[in-house]
């Protein structure tokens, strides 16, 4: 698989250099802007970015202070009103246990957001660091790291996560413990794709003159990596990481749906959807609202990723 990335870079010889020259060209007469500043300006003009930013703000607020959105206790079961349709009393209706679907949906945001944010943070740190070190050092270290990445990459994502979750089934079974286990499982099987991406973009940055110049001036490897390579090679990773955040949320819900992730006393969208699927034919509102919120969250992060990519890649304008 290493050869895929190598051939990939070999074909795209028109990588970052053209981007930079074009950037200077557009920002030319008034003032030369950096790639980052240009991307920020572009983002501020993008409606896609603003829609996703608003959605993400709402969901993050929901995850931090659910009581801001509802006063109803999500664990208060009124069995008498089991499966009640949406009404002025319970906006989204009630589920099988007689829980208020609206309150459950609001409180369910926390699990998804925590898993998404922390998995992204960890995969970016681990994958990014490994990718940079492998590409900068090259040689045997690079081959070794690539083979190790292949090992983790060869095991399908969901399958690997399921296996790891089951082998850790008996430890850390409180709320944050399970979230941590899901994050761990997704990080272990998610870092190789980011490491590969970072590796190939570092390979594109390395031959540039400013790296040679820094090296000739006697800059230490750490300094070259920190202030020249990482800022110039980060772009593709930021984009993919943002999109992946949505994917991780979806995988967390899938694990909870399969009964391997979060378990019933805990409130999460995956668990709610799993509980509601029996009522698909008779009381679809129980399924609709958690699915809607889950999909909107994933949608928001994917749109954000799209907007950031468009901003960083002048060729798509």
């Amino acid at each position: 698989m290493t050869d895929t990335t190598e051939t990939g870079t070999a074909v795209r010889t028109d990588g970052p250099q053209t981007d930079e020259t074009r950037d200077l060209g557009t920002g030319g007469p008034e003032k030369a802007r950096s790639l980052g500043a240009d991307a920020r300006r572009q983002l501020a003009k993008s409606p896609l970015f603003w829609i996703s930013a608003v959605l993400i703000t709402i969901f993050v607020l929901m995850a931090i202070w659910p009581s801001l959105f509802t006063n109803t206790n999500p664990s208060e079961a009124i069995l008498q009103e089991s499966r009640a349709l949406p009404s002025s009393d319970a906006w989204f209706g009630r589920d099988i246990q007689g829980y208020d679907v609206y309150a459950r949906t609001v409180y369910g945001a926390r699990a998804s957001i925590l898993v998404g944010v922390f998995t992204t943070l960890f995969t970016v740190t681990v994958g990014g660091a490994i990718g940079v070190i492998a590409a900068y050092n090259g040689g045997w270290l690079d081959s070794l790291v690539s083979r190790i990445a292949d090992v983790f990459f060869g095991i399908p994502f969901i399958l690997g996560a399921i296996l790891l979750m089951t082998s850790l089934a008996d430890v850390l079974n409180n709320y944050f413990g399970i979230i941590f286990k899901v994050v761990l499982a997704l990080t272990i099987f998610g870092w190789p794709s980011l490491a590969r991406l970072m590796r190939s973009s570092v390979f594109q940055v390395m031959p540039n003159d400013y790296i040679q110049a820094a090296r000739a001036l006697g800059a230490s490897p750490w300094r070259i990596i920190r202030s020249h390579i990482i800022p110039n090679a980060m772009g593709p990773m930021i984009v993919v990481a943002t999109i992946n955040l949505g994917v991780y949320i979806s995988v967390e819900a899938t694990l909870s749906f399969l009964g391997i992730g979060l378990q019933p006393p805990v409130i999460s969208w995956g668990v709610s959807i799993n509980d509601a699927i029996v009522g698909l034919r008779t009381t679809p509102h129980m399924l609709f609202f958690p699915s809607l919120f889950l999909s909107l969250t994933i949608l928001a992060f994917i749109m954000l990723g799209d907007a950031v990519r468009d901003a960083f890649d002048p060729k798509t304008r």
Partner: protein, 308 residues
Amino acid sequence: MGKYVVRRFLQMIPVILGATFLIFWMVYALPGDPTAGKCGERACSEAYVAAYYKEHNLNDPLPVQYVKYLGKVAQGDLGTNQYGVPVKEDLAERYGVTGKLALMAVVFEVVLGLAAGILSGIRKGKFIDNLVLVSTLVVISVPIFVIGALAQYFLGVKLGLFPVTVGSDPSLYELVLPAMVLGSVSVAFVARLTRTNLAENLRSDYVRTAKAKGLTRRRAVGLHALRNSLIPVVTFVGFDFGALLGGAIVTEAIFNVQGIGSYVYRGINTRDGVAVVGATTVLVLVYLLVNLLVDLLYGFLDPRISHD
């Protein structure tokens, strides 16, 4: 070419060993007594436990267990699952089903994804482009278990277009709906990848040259731009085939497909380590072979890439 293939096969060996060891370790690190629940409601007799531990080498340290297991695999023996059925027989049957399902999903994603991607790529910024962008976003955001349940209810139960569940020896027609659900997310990715690459290539110099020398638009797009846009798509589809085989767990659960996903899932839940390790090892092998095939395909799509 021959040399390249041999080198790739040699590179595969450590990856296969590493991946199978990782799976082996995770499966046998599963906490709990492996003989629990094997003898009905009472505890197993000591003689049975001893025999079970001996047969599966559970008294040895993990690396030794692994080497002994590899030795058996090398002789073509994947062991027997907890029902006493050889895992090899199970796998042959179940891989047939899941393989069919995954292939149909790939065909679906390539045909529909390419069509949508090409349409929106050549009409960038027009209505059809925005339609494709929005609908692919929606498909990507809705989790597959929701798509599956909805498709099963509306297309299967309400409209009666497709069978609601799938039997043990499914016909192609029975698998159409599960395959569409399984491939739905990938359709969206293929469409977006094709669109982005095609739109980028359409503005490149060689397409302008092709048009300038008098080629029809159809030929310039189809022969020059499209062929060059296909490399990332082929990479994705190759990677996706492996992921579909392993990721079919949810789809197979919804439609009751007796494939590899439900086999592995049941194996995990009933602590049937032999079955899980065997099934996933084959999965990793298939994945690596498909990736090799993809890398060889590059040479045909782009003559600049050679494997000599």
